[in-house]
């Protein structure tokens, strides 16, 4: 008689085999989750893919600020106790003191400001090559498939995570990124209609996931961490479910 644990292990094993047949070789079974909870269930093997590229779309200044907050929260999970992150941007940069709210020590981030988009791409690639860095965040407008594939080859070797914050992109073409996110601000929720502004609340949309399921959540960042406000996890239209990349 099989216990439920054995059953779930069997299911996980089968899922892993299916992923391998689909040609997805990145996920290693040993890898454990980051503790992101429901967010991780959208990814293959229920593991947030590290050592790859993630793309964050933001259409205006407000979304840019929301994405910065979400990224800061994500960085605090990715960097844990030690590690250094690079934040490469062109004009204005995130305001460092705000990052402490998302559980991140701002002094462990090195902010790099470069003028040209070409230089930012170059710096991103150099940063991803360097194993002394754990995460590289780059603010870019455009990136095409060839450029992203070049970066993908780099991260496969170095296992550094790259997060691309795309500010007001004109074209959303195919890239080799493992996931494409879109973060929008949402009305915050305050207990019992008390006055004041509540915790930062976002509508986090996972537009594309490699070998995973695109999803949508309403999340709030509370002092206890990331909390799902109303678990929608609605499967978006089946057309966007096909394999990406």
């Amino acid at each position: 008689m099989k216990t439920s644990i054995e059953k779930s292990m069997l299911i996980a094993d089968l899922q892993h085999q299916i992923l391998q047949w689909q040609g997805f070789k990145q996920v290693e079974r040993k890898e454990t989750g980051l503790g992101l909870g429901t967010l991780e269930r959208a990814f293959p093997g229920n593991v947030f893919p590290m050592g790859t590229l993630h793309e964050f779309i933001s259409d205006n200044k407000e979304e840019e600020a929301a994405s910065s907050g979400f990224l800061a929260g994500l960085l605090s999970f990715l960097m844990k106790k030690d590690g250094v992150a690079l934040w490469i941007s062109s004009s204005d940069q995130p305001f460092a003191p705000a990052m402490t709210y998302f559980g991140l020590e701002p002094e462990r981030i090195i902010f790099v400001q470069m003028q040209k988009q070409v230089d930012i791409l170059w710096a991103l690639e150099e940063g991803l090559k360097c194993t002394a860095v754990k995460v590289v965040v780059a603010e870019l407008q455009e990136i095409n498939f060839v450029q992203s594939r070049r970066l993908q080859l780099v991260v496969e070797k170095s296992r550094v995570t790259g997060l691309l914050l795309r500010l007001q992109p004109r074209m959303l073409g195919a890239t080799t990124c493992a996931a494409r996110w879109h973060i929008r601000t949402q009305m915050s929720h305050v207990e019992g209609d008390m006055p004041g502004v509540g915790f930062p609340t976002w509508k986090v949309e996972l537009l594309k996931v490699k070998n995973g399921q695109s999803s949508c959540w309403q999340l709030a960042w509370t002092p206890r961490g990331l909390q799902v406000e109303q678990l929608k996890a609605e499967r978006t239209a089946s057309s966007s479910k096909r394999k990406v990349g």
């Binding site: 709210y101 790099v112 170059w122 502004v197």
Partner: protein, 500 residues
């Protein structure tokens, strides 16, 4: 091996310089003049004028009397010194230590340099040939003391080389003026019948000191080599300098790279041996057409890593213009610091800010884009938002205070704050709506005000009342009003940031 010096005297420096620029003047006598005590005095003569008996420090009227068709040019006070210095700097290709003395001679410390040109005779001939090719007349000499070389350059046969220890014999027949003395002292010596150096060398120091003073004895001792003489070089010699003369002129990027690597290898070996590292280095190149240029690199922490420094220089090679070719490379370490000893065997410090690979990565960023800003922020004890962070001076600097988390702060700060139009009900209530870039935002939720005063010991001005607001679409902003409400003017409202 003892010291060796070469002294170069350019007797017609100013006029040769003028003839170079105006070749048609070569055959006519001309002089430069300066006003001295209300009279025009000759300051420099060209060879043709010198043949007619005109000498420097002669009065212009006398010179005109001797040569009626004399061409007269005005002289500038610092021109000669400037020219001499320029030629001195040009001479650095032959030796790193070059000095200019008060009498208008160039002194080259050639110890250990001459063999690179195949001996002292060939060395002096090369300098002679190069300067003559550029149109400068030259008298030169090499000796073991500055005094002896100077004496022979001025009063002896040109191009003479005095062997080590032979300076006393070499100068014994020269006139006493070759000892670099004041004119009054020379007159006194001549009056006493002491015409050559040989006449005085035999006398005891005690006697000479009593009659001619301390300076005379010192000059004599310096010339003969009994006392050491010091010179102040035009360019102070840096303790960490490497030079690389090339057999063939180098024009290609690959060639320059190999040269830089060779220089770096020797320099870094020395630095590593002394547990030091580079912070700033300069590569100077001397082209065969006489032009020079330089490129500089900087590192964010002391480094003696050849490969890394080579990468930084490789980014700069594009800025080097070799022209017809480069003959000498000089690598200087402008700034050297104590290197932090690395513990590569125990653990590489991966993932920490002390990692050398991280510092090298940032150096490459700086090398690619000079205007690139690499910053790390630390908390500062100020309430004023713009001052609540300060820049870390180094990668390893630790914070001295904690980050404040009790007040909400926007993830994106607008710098400078953007003026907006606001409708607020009554003073000190949060606004109802605001207009930013043509869009009206209806405010649904608000926190505040949080009053932040200016630090009066830093600047004067009005305080700010901050509100953390959320509009009907869930977008969160940080607004502030500058100063108090006043009856006669509308309040100044600003948007200062976007919240996550």
């Amino acid at each position: 091996m003892g010291k060796r010096y070469a002294v170069l005297w350019l007797p017609f420096l100013l006029t040769d310089w003028y003839t170079r620029r105006h070749p048609d003047c070569a055959d006519e006598p001309f002089v430069f003049t300066v006003p001295v005590r209300g009279r025009m005095s000759v300051s420099a003569v060209n060879p043709r004028a010198a043949q007619s008996g005109i000498v420097p420090e002669m009065l212009l009227a006398d010179a005109r009397a001797a040569v009626p068709h004399l061409k007269v040019l005005p002289d500038k006070p610092a021109r000669k010194a400037k020219l001499l210095q320029a030629i001195g700097l040009w001479c650095i290709r032959y030796t790193p230590i070059v000095a200019v003395d008060a009498t208008g001679c160039l002194i080259l410390d050639i110890s250990g340099c001459a063999h690179l040109w195949g001996g002292e005779a060939a060395y002096l001939q090369e300098i002679d040939r190069q300067l003559r090719q550029r149109g400068y007349d030259l008298r030169s000499a090499i000796a073991s003391t500055i005094g002896a070389a100077w004496a022979i350059a001025r009063y002896g046969p040109s191009g003479a080389i005095v062997p080590e220890g032979g300076q006393e014999k070499a100068v014994s027949l020269l006139p006493v003026a070759c000892l670099r003395l004041e004119s009054s002292l020379i007159e006194k010596l001549l009056k006493l019948g002491l015409r050559t150096v040989g006449n005085v060398t035999g006398m005891p120091d005690r006697v000479l000191k009593r009659r001619f003073g301390n300076e005379f004895v010192q000059r004599l001792a310096q010339t003969i080599g009994k006392e050491e003489e010091f010179m102040s070089p035009l360019k102070p010699v840096l303790p960490y300098t490497e030079r690389l003369p090339c057999l063939e002129p180098i024009k290609t990027a690959k060639g320059i790279e190999i040269a830089v690597e060779k220089l770096l290898e020797t320099l870094c070996q020395r630095l590593a041996g002394e547990q030091k590292g580079l912070r700033k280095a300069k590569l100077t190149y001397y082209r065969i057409d006489g032009k020079t240029g330089a490129v500089e690199i900087g590192t964010s922490r002391a480094s003696a890593h050849v490969q890394h420094l080579l990468v930084l220089f490789r980014q700069r090679i594009g800025n080097i213009t070799p022209g017809w070719g480069i003959e000498v490379f000089v690598l200087e370490a402008l700034k050297v610091e104590e290197a932090i000893p690395t513990q590569e065997l125990l653990w590489s410090g991966e993932g920490s800010l002390e990692n050398a690979a991280l510092a090298e990565l940032l150096d490459r960023f700086k090398g690619r884009d000079v205007h690139c800003r690499i910053r790390r922020f630390l908390p500062d004890e100020h309430y004023w938002p713009e001052r609540s962070i300060k820049l870390a001076t180094s990668l390893t600097e630790k914070r001295t205070t904690t980050w404040r988390t009790d007040r909400p702060r926007p993830t994106r700060l607008l710098n400078p704050p953007h003026p907006i139009e606001v409708t607020a009900p009554i003073p000190d209530y949060p606004p109802m709506l605001f207009r930013y870039k043509g869009e009206v935002h209806l405010i649904k939720k608000a926190d505040g005000p949080e009053r932040i005063e200016r630090a009066w010991w830093i600047e004067q001005g009005e305080h700010r009342d901050y509100y953390y607001v959320e509009d009907d679409q869930g977008r969160r902003y940080w607004l502030f009003r500058l100063g108090h409400y006043q009856g006669d003017r509308s309040a100044n409202w600003y948007l200062h940031g976007f919240f996550a």
